[in-house]
Amino acid sequence: MKTPNELKYTKSHEWVKVESDGTLTVGITDHAQALMGDMVYVELPETGRKVEANKECAVVESVKAASDVYAPVAGEVTTANSGLSDSPETVNKDPYGAGWMFKMKPANTTDVNGLLDAKAYEALVASESH
């Protein structure tokens, strides 16, 4: 399982990257994609959609199951990774890179400070697998 140090994480298995302009890029973690198996369908939020923290804003479906993706913090969706609709398997192959799901502008720039760091996320995954 890969857990890049420079990213923030949620308890619901999203990763968050704080870009230099303050926007956030969001995807699902390597652990989450491995649990779900081969992705076959990704439903992304529309640009401009207002999202609330910990509320569902996207759906990923694998051969095995459907799962909601939650907004890590409150804010507004600025763009979504439309390439995933034709190649959802990108989420499996490159969850932290080309498999990103959407970008958003947070309502409060300090909200990301409340998210988990890599170490805390790894501890969470370890506790869930017991």
């Binding site: 198996g37 081969d38 076959v40 369908y41 759906v59 051969v63 459907a66 609709s85 398997e89 499996n92």
Partner: protein, 364 residues
């Protein structure tokens, strides 16, 4: 820890994701379920199905006993080595299990049934055998089973296990078996592709698996086995039928032999009653219109005829869309549109004839 087949170590070494399946630690996939699915459709692959239950029924009365026990008629098996798919019913016509029975010789039939129903199947069969008399049932836990499936499966089996298999089994039509030494090689399967199911001594399983791997046969997990069988329109026990449904409501009327009338198999009376009043539900194929994935237990609205439910739903890697088997009220016809409740969102699915895929080609 669950039960483990003789191939468990081979699965772990091949990087399998191991899951519990009916009390067995089995490989779900070895990396990518979809890639494994395509390998079987386009080339070939091998499945460890040693968790399935092999039982040998022996005795002078074996054939007569099976004519009572099974809804299909073993008298269709006229020559040695022929195989028959059948349901085993309770007295209410509910399906206890589905199985394949092989005619080995006049006093010996081999039964292959599901792992998840092991205990109740053996209890039922043993009780029935005791009452009937003249037969003995022996579970063959000393045997393993490997399915090699796909358009190139047979050639790879000959390359791996010897040309004598071509001589012994190469000419077999579907649903036949040949015995070569300690191997039983059958032209049965659960994928809708050409290939063999090989029953062999458990102690020879790891070596045979390795020989097949060296001949270029990749291992395939139970995940792909499920999408392959769904595309092939084959029922899964526990999902598409169980003790609360009859075969007539499960797309399995073709496996019920009501002729000859005098054969009083267990469940016959209940099925005749159901036919007399009309079978209330049927199993149909569905193709999703639009994006998303049909899932087991999603509810359907069927044009004022009543509600239905998806019994097996998944993404179809071959068709690149979602397909399902669903139980719907009688009166739903091919071409009808039904409404599926997909996570609170109404979506449309079209009723189609299944199988969805046979021998690598779309049938819809």
């Amino acid at each position: 820890m669950g039960h483990r087949t003789p191939l468990y170590e081979a699965h772990v070494q091949a990087g399998a994701k191991i899951v519990d399946f009916g009390g067995w630690d089995m490989p779900l996939h070895y990396g990518s379920q979809i890639e494994e699915h395509h390998k079987v459709r386009r080339d070939c692959g091998m499945f460890d199905v040693s968790h399935m239950v092999v039982s040998d029924l022996k005795g002078a009365a074996a054939r007569d006993f099976l004519k009572l026990l099974l809804a299909n008629n073993v008298d269709k098996l006229k020559t040695r080595g022929r195989a028959l798919y059948s349901c085993m019913l309770n007295s209410k016509g509910g399906v206890i299990d589905d199985l394949i029975v092989y005619y080995m010789d006049d006093t010996w039939f081999r039964i292959v049934s599901n792992a998840g129903t092991h205990d109740k199947d053996l209890a039922w069969m043993n009780a029935a055998a005791k009452e009937f008399g003249g037969v003995t049932l022996t579970e063959r836990a000393d045997l393993a089973m490997i399915a090699v499936q796909g358009p190139n499966a047979k050639e790879k089996v000959y390359a791996a296990l010897g040309e004598n298999l071509r001589d012994a089994a190469g000419h077999l039509k579907p649903f036949h078996a040949a015995t070569i030494g300690e191997l039983m090689v059958a032209t049965t399967g659960y994928t809708g592709e050409d290939g063999f199911e090989i029953i062999l001594p458990a102690k020879a399983a790891a070596f045979t698996w390795q020989m097949l791997a060296e001949a270029g046969v990749p291992p395939i997990g139970l995940g792909a086995r499920d999408t392959l069988r769904l595309e092939a329109g084959m029922n899964l026990y526990g999902s598409d039928m169980d003790e609360t449904t009859t075969p007539l409501e499960s797309g399995l009327a073709w496996t019920v032999a009501l002729e000859p009338e005098e054969r009083k198999f267990i469940g016959r009376e209940a099925l005749e009653k159901q036919l007399a009043v009309g079978v209330p539900r049927s199993l149909v194929g569905l193709v999703l219109e639009g994006r998303g994935v049909l899932r087991n237990h999603q509810k359907l609205k069927c044009n004022g005829l009543g509600d239905g439910e998806i019994t097996s739903g998944s993404f179809s890697p071959t068709l690149e869309t979602s397909v399902a088997l669903a139980r719907v009220p009688a009166g739903v016809k091919l071409g009808d549109k039904v409404e599926v409740d997909m996570r609170g969102k109404p979506m449309t699915a079209r009723v189609v004839k299944y199988p969805f895929v046979r021998n690598g080609k779309s049938c819809i």
